[in-house]
């Protein structure tokens, strides 16, 4: 477990350093994710050592969003009188975005499937 946490935090730390150092538009943890993929490609056996702890973390991913979620309700005042309009926009825009992504994904898969033997 400590190996896993050390490696995850180490990747995040290097990601943060790179993001801030080079002024990249990606957050540190996302660069850390890319770095860990790179490490896996060099040392594929490492994945099995990381698997137990990583599985526990990812199985409880929702839990990690609870503090931020509580903050949202606490700051409902920020939304002021626009709250109904904002909720409607968020709902519509999120549904539109999912429709666009899923439509493109399925469409492109179908179109390219013919070219793959």
């Amino acid at each position: 477990m400590l190996h896993t946490l050390g490696l995850l935090l180490g990747c995040q730390l290097l990601g943060e350093v790179a993001a801030r150092g080079f002024g990249l538009p990606m957050p540190g943890p996302v660069l850390g994710l890319a770095l860990l993929l790179l490490i896996f490609s060099v040392m594929p056996t490492l994945t099995e050592r990381l698997r137990p702890t990583t599985t526990v973390i990812l199985a409880n991913l929702s839990f990690l969003f609870v503090p931020a979620g509580v903050g949202v309700i606490g700051s409902f005042a920020v939304l002021s009188e626009d709250v109904i309009a904002l909720l409607a926009i968020l709902f519509l825009s999120t549904v539109f975005s999912m429709l666009a992504a899923v439509g493109t994904f399925i469409g492109v898969r179908y179109a390219t499937a013919r070219w793959v033997p």
Binding site: P25, M26, P27, L64, F65, V66, V78, S93, F105
Partner: protein, 238 residues
């Protein structure tokens, strides 16, 4: 009475109580959701929040005090994001065969997420500041806050909108995809990852591991793309 008061004043200033409360609230919320068979509306994040908020009100605890304890959980979002490398690695073979759908669905999903928010905000006549805060709502919080600040939005408002988008995406994805009879877990996961970042990704993992892996890719790539696309869309549409 004074003993109770001093006990409370100790607890109120210690991170222990709110850390513990958050864990138990989640255990209850997740237990209820599982018991019901994880229906989309019983989102564990939303249920936990609904359990914690009344307690904060009753004890007159402000968010800063709550966060003293909850920050330890919040902090783990960083390493958890790095940990998404494992499901991506596990699915590398299928991912390699779907590069074209991934790239193009990322483009359309990301552009529609930001573009439709801007257009709708204008249609509803919202103030420009609010509109700018809304534009990066579909990407992960740290990126969204940075973009919001850079284009002249209100980062605090963006933080709220990002979390609400995540919950809306997590709650709507299953009924929407079932309605459209989409059975491809890759496409379903990818869509919710683009539109609803980490909270959507958490929902995808709850439903299917392949959907979770594709949601992770979408979330990670969208973190990059949104920061490039939103400033451009704002220039064209605002």
């Amino acid at each position: 009475m004074t003993e109770v008061t001093s006990l409370w004043s100790y607890l109120a200033t210690s991170p222990l109580i709110w850390l513990t409360a958050t864990i138990f609230a989640y255990l209850v919320a997740d237990g209820v959701a599982r018991h019901l068979g994880n229906p989309p509306w019983a989102n564990p994040v939303l249920l936990s929040v609904l359990l914690i908020i009344p307690v904060l009100w009753l004890t007159q605890t402000d968010y800063t005090a709550y966060f003293e304890g909850a920050q330890f959980i919040h902090f783990l979002l960083g390493p958890a994001t790095v940990a998404l490398a494992l499901p991506l690695w596990d699915n590398r073979d299928t991912i390699r065969t779907s590069v074209a759908p991934i790239v193009l669905a990322l483009l359309t999903g990301s552009i529609v997420a930001a573009g439709s928010a801007i257009i709708l905000a204008r249609a509803f006549g919202l103030p420009t500041e609010v509109l700018l805060s809304l534009a990066p709502k579909s990407t992960t919080a740290p990126v969204a806050l940075g973009i919001s600040e850079a284009i002249g939005g209100i980062p605090a408002l963006t933080a709220v909108l990002v979390i609400m988008t995540g919950i809306i995406g997590a709650v709507t994805v299953t009924p929407l995809m079932n309605l459209l009879r989409i059975t491809d877990w890759r496409a379903r996961g990818f869509a919710v990852g683009v539109a609803a970042h980490g909270i959507g990704t958490a929902r995808a993992f709850q439903v299917n591991p392949v959907a979770g892996a594709y949601a992770s890719i979408a979330m990670a790539l969208n973190a990059l793309l949104t920061s490039l696309i939103v400033p451009l869309l704002v220039r064209w549409l605002v």
